[in-house]
Amino acid sequence: MPGADIALKEMAWIIAGLAAFYFVMDLLVFRKHPKRLDYRGRLLNVLIAAGIFAILAISVKVFTWALLFQIFLMNIVDLCILLLATTGVILIFKTSVTTNFAQGMMATFGAFFAATIVMKLTASSSVNPTLNLFIGLISGILVSFLLGLFIDVAIIRRGRYVTSVGKQMITMGLVMVIMGVIPVIFGTNPVVLPAFSIDVKTFSIGSGMYVIPVQSLYAIGITAGVLILLFSMLRFTKWGLGVRATASSEMVAGMMGVNTHVITAMSWAIAGGLGAIAAFFYAASGTQVQVASMVPVQVNAFMAAVLGSFSSFGGPLVGAFLINIFSSLAPFYNGTWQTVIVYGLILLLVLAKPLGLFGKKTAKKV
């Protein structure tokens, strides 16, 4: 891409300039001001918004709107996967106060099951392949759902007094167990999951022509449906109220008559199901389903959760959007260092806002 190198340098200068401006303002102007902390927070918000806006503006200058939109369309499956995975991570963090390293593995387990079912169905009957895939997807979701339920009921619930690092270790142990169990159950033969469709759809908005893979349309539809359902459940049902109550304090919620056991078990199960959808779309590209394939997605989901803040349900989704935009643009700027650029940006953002972009400061009694 011509001009990408120069644009990258421009961005680096802009970020450095914003950081320098912040330090100058903080150390020289706000120094003796009684409302220093307040002003500092506001200035930081403005500068972050300005920085992200500047990055996007430079990208528009280099790529033009049409190309940017096209890039976004091509990466929309990744966005859906990341959104689903992030929601799973955040649900478990809210109810069990731990980062679930087994999220990716639970998901992969579901994807393996789905792929096996799809392969059996395609081999035995000549029903239309889309239906087969849907049956596979639903069975995969169910299996991961049950797996999540089982993990909570059999393991996490019994370790109530384990610290949160201890719970992390339990999920890490689960990763190993599931990793060992997968080849035992599904055999060592390669498992392949076909895509819903390998066609692309062309459409035009205004004067521009855009291309979108039909597979992404399925992904968008399913993801949007599931997430809207989940978030409306969180907002409007008794279960959602229970989740929010458990998230703010498990003990108090229990005393108020919320059945926290059911809440956490359901959260684990739903997280498993969401993961299974994510893994299904991640694997459904006609290539082999692999045991460790969900690990990078899971790392990105953690990053998105930190970036958007663990303290809200919506923030991580914004974080996932940002990460997806960064990581889909980065290869066009610099192919070799793309991961470094993306993680570096996230690191900078989190350093500027340690509680996440939408985090609220919680007062702690000492």
Binding site: G173, V181, P183, V299, W337, L347, V350, P354, V366
Partner: protein
């Protein structure tokens, strides 16, 4: 006669004094390791077992540094793999390719480690708890990507290999008879030194300050403990240990492949520290052996496991889960409990014997 008795008592007293010394256990442990090397030269121990022993020592050094962060500082960091990898590549590049002397390489690497530790330490001042774990995880990913992309330094996907090193003017080439014993010796000495350094840090005011910080930042600060100083110190020490571990890893394995320094390795170190017991040095060694050495040294010789390699992974996972659920203080707690139970049982037996011998005390 009484003279002899006096000497004997004096001898026993001084023996007790020596065995009670905190270094005694470590030096005995080092000596046992040297005996293991001797047994290897006599072909009593197989390659796989001695390999497990060496890996346990190397990873124990890394885990000791890590335990200062986690067990004493309460700071969970998942960037360990990146630092260990950095150590291997620094040695491979500077000593292997640029042919700098080992001492100079070590000095420069320590400098790099300290700078990195300070950077992570500063990050840890702003970000805490679970957030810190995830951000350091990101840092580890950045380092890994850096290793993969920066080919002149690490060799990219073909990795770095090191076949020989110069130590005090003598060249040791791999495949030579003297190579493995020399590496083993260096590793053992550094391992014992690392244990001694760790116990010194733990028992010093620094360790106490770290413990205070773990329990409560605010309380520690109000007692006059400088958060910035001790956090940076903890991270610097841990990074230095990790880089040293990387050095030894490259010396022993002779090959380092950039993609291998991933999240998985950091998690395994974390698991080792948690399983063994984050606050006890022998506990950490036990944990490292269980996670890294057990399958090489023991499970491979049990037909049930060697026929189904997948079961080894499952076994490790189940072990981690069970230990964390039932012995939150680590497996070393189990051993301590056993010790207490045994001594109680012996006392009871003695009482019973006395009752039998002399009759009941009315």
């Amino acid at each position: 006669m009484s003279q002899v008795r006096l000497w004997l008592e004096k001898g026993i007293a001084s023996f007790k004094k020596v065995t009670k010394h905190p270094y005694f256990g470590f030096i005995v442990f080092g000596a046992i390791m040297l005996i293991a090397l001797w047994l290897r030269t006599l072909n009593v121990l197989t390659i796989s077992v001695i390999n497990a022993v060496v890996l346990t020592m190397i990873y124990s050094i890394i885990a000791l540094g890590f335990s200062l962060l986690l067990g004493y500082g309460g700071l969970a960091s998942l960037g360990t793999a990146g630092f260990v990898g950095l150590g291997t590549f620094l040695l491979g590049y500077m000593h292997g390719k640029l042919a700098l002397s080992l001492g100079l390489t070590l000095l420069i690497s320590l400098g790099v480690a300290i700078v990195l530790g300070v950077i992570v330490g500063f990050i840890s001042l702003r970000i805490e708890g679970m957030y810190l774990a995830i951000i350091t995880l990101g840092l580890g990913e950045i380092l890994r990507q850096f290793f993969i992309s920066y080919e002149t330094f690490t060799g990219g996907y073909s990795g770095t290999s090191m076949r020989e090193f110069t130590f005090f003017g003598k060249v040791f080439v791999s495949g030579d008879g003297a190579y493995f014993p020399m590496v083993y010796l260096i590793i053992t000495v550094l391992f014992v030194l690392a244990m001694i350094a760790t116990i010194n840090i733990i028992k010093s005011p620094t360790g106490r300050a770290l413990l205070a910080m773990k329990n409560s930042d605010s309380a520690a600060q109000s007692m006059g403990i400088s958060l910035i100083k001790y956090r940076l110190l903890a991270f610097v020490i841990s990074t230095v240990f990790a880089v040293l571990g990387g050095f030894l890893y490259l010396m022993h394995i002779k090959f380092s492949y950039p993609p291998q320094w991933s999240l998985n390795f950091s998690l395994e170190i974390l698991a080792a520290v948690i399983v063994g017991g984050a606050q006890s040095i022998f506990g950490i060694i036990l944990g490292v052996f269980l996670i890294f050495g057990l399958n090489l040294a023991v499970l491979n010789y049990i037909p049930f496991f060697s026929e189904n390699p997948a079961l080894i992974v499952i076994f490790n996972g189940v072990l981690i889960i069970l230990v964390v659920m039932f012995y939150p203080g680590g497996l070393i707690r189990l051993l301590q409990l056993l010790k207490i139970k045994c001594s109680l049982g012996i006392k009871r037996l003695v009482v019973k014997w006395k009752v039998y011998r002399y009759g009941k005390d009315h």
